[in-house]
C-alpha cells in the first residue's frame, strides 16, 4: 500500500486536457501549491477547476488562469484576481458561482457515495433556477448533485506512505472533503513519514481515499491578508 510518488510531475502525469479537478484550500490557506506549479508547467488545458476561490494573479490557481489552462471555474467567491476578471468579462472563462456550504457538501456527498444532497441555501434566489425543490417538514430544499471529479488535489501537513493524512489548523478547510471526492486523489504534504508514526486516532483522511502522495519542498505559504496587532501592545 505504498502510495508515494517522486513528486508533483509524476503525480499529475495522467491528467489530460478537459478533465475536472478539485483543488483544496481557502484563499491561499492550505493550497496544494506544489501540484499547481507542476500543472502550470505542464501545458494541460481546458480544465474545469472546482475550488472555493481562484487564487491571486501570481499564486495558486491564478497561475493556471494566466496560462489560459482553465476553461471553467466552479467556486463560491472569486475576484481577488485581475486576470480572472479580464477573462470572465471577455467570455474566455466560464464561471459557476455556488454557495460555499453547497460546494463543500457536494464534495462530501461524493466522498460518502451519495448522489445528491438537499440544502436550503439558494432557495428563492437565482441559484435555485432549474433545480428540483423538495419540501421537508414545511421547509423548501434544493437538490444539489454530488460532484464528479477526475482528480482531487489536496495539501496536508503530515502524511504517511500509506496515504493517511493530518492537516494543520485552518489549512484543513476543503482539503478533507475534496480528498474523499476525487476518482484519483493526489496529496502533497510538508512531512512524509513511515506507517506507524502517525497516531491512528489523529488521522483526518484515511489513506483509502488517497492514491498518490509526495513531500513538497520549500513551501511558500503566502498570506493573503496579513492582519496584526502592534507588538508594543503585547502584555509581557
Amino acid at each position: 500500500m505504498n502510495k508515494v510518488v517522486s513528486g508533483a510531475q509524476e503525480a499529475i502525469n495522467d491528467i489530460r486536457d478537459g478533465m475536472t479537478l478539485m483543488l483544496g484550500g481557502f484563499g491561499l490557506c492550505g493550497l496544494p501549491e506544489k501540484t499547481i506549479l507542476a500543472l502550470a508547467e505542464s501545458g494541460i488545458k481546458d480544465l474545469t477547476c472546482i475550488s472555493n476561490n481562484a487564487g491571486v494573479d501570481d499564486f495558486g490557481i491564478g497561475l493556471l488562469l494566466r496560462n489560459r489552462q482553465v476553461k471553467k471555474m466552479i467556486s463560491s467567491y472569486v475576484g481577488e484576481n485581475a486576470e480572472f476578471e479580464r477573462q470572465l468579462l471577455s467570455g474566455e472563462l466560464e464561471v459557476e458561482l455556488i454557495p460555499q456550504g453547497t460546494l463543500a457538501t457536494r464534495c462530501m456527498a461524493a466522498g460518502y457515495g451519495m448522489p445528491a444532497i438537499f440544502t436550503p441555501a439558494g432557495i428563492g434566489t437565482e441559484v435555485a433556477e432549474g433545480k428540483e425543490i423538495r419540501n421537508f417538514n414545511g421547509k423548501d430544499y434544493l437538490m444539489e448533485m454530488a460532484f464528479d471529479a477526475d482528480f482531487a488535489i489536496v495539501k496536508a501537513w503530515k502524511g504517511d506512505t500509506m496515504g493517511n493524512l493530518v492537516y494543520r489548523s485552518t489549512a484543513r478547510n476543503f482539503n478533507p472533503v475534496m480528498a474523499m471526492a476525487g476518482k484519483i486523489t493526489i496529496a502533497e504534504v510538508e512531512e512524509l513519514v513511515e506507517p506507524g508514526e502517525l497516531d491512528p486516532d489523529h488521522i483526518h483522511t484515511p489513506g483509502i481515499y488517497v492514491h498518490r502522495i509526495f513531500k513538497g519542498e520549500n513551501y511558500e505559504k503566502r498570506i493573503e491578508q496579513r492582519t496584526v496587532r502592534r507588538l508594543e501592545n503585547k502584555m509581557i
Binding site: L88, L97, P99, A121, R229, L231
Partner: protein, 218 residues
Amino acid sequence: MLDKEGIAKRIAKEVKDGYYVNLGIGIPTLVANYIPENIDVVLQSENGLLGMGPFPFEGEEDPDTTNAGKQTITKLPGSAVFDSAMSFGMIRAKKVNLTILGAMEVSENGDIANWKIPGKMVKGMGGAMDLVASAENIIVAMQHVNKAGESKLLPNCTLPLTGIKCVKKIVTELAVLDILPDGGFKLVERAPGVSVDDIKKATAGKLVVKGDVPEMAI
C-alpha cells in the same frame, strides 16, 4: 447618528452569554471588539474554526491560521478546527445562535440582497446564502441609505436575492428595526439625535411606529 463603531457597539448588546456567533465581513467584524467581557461567547469562522481570537501580534502570523476573510488570526484556548463541510453542517443544523452580516438591501418581509449588482463584476456569494437560509437569528448591520441617498430598507429588494424571509433585526446609523412576522419594519430604537421623521424619510418600505420610540443607549 451612529458611525460604524456605534453600529457595532449597539449590535454587541444583542450578543448573549453562551452564544456561538458568526460575524460577516465589514461592520459585523467590529462587533467582536465590543462584546462584554463578563459573557462567554465563541466566534465561528466558516472556513472551519470555533474560538476565533484577535489578530496575531506582529511576527506571530501563522499562514495556516486564517479567518473567512482570509485574514491572519489567532485561536483562543478551547478552539476547535474542522473541515468546510462540517462548518456548514453546524450552520445548517442551527447550532450557531447568532449571525451578523452586512447587506445592500433588505425588504420589509425580511428578504436580503448582499452579493450581486447586475452589470458589475460579481465576486460570489461565499457562505452568505448558506448562512441566511439556515440561521434563525440574523441581524443585519448596514447604512440606512446607499451612496446615492436611496433607502436600503425597501418594500421589495431590487437586487438579486441572497435569501428570503430571513432577516430578524436591522441596525443602521439611524435606528434599530425588527422585521415583523407579517411584514414591515418596526421601529424599536432611534440613534442619538435622530428623530422618527428622519427615519421615516430614509425608509422606503413600510415603517411601523408605535408609541414613543426610545433613543438607544450605547
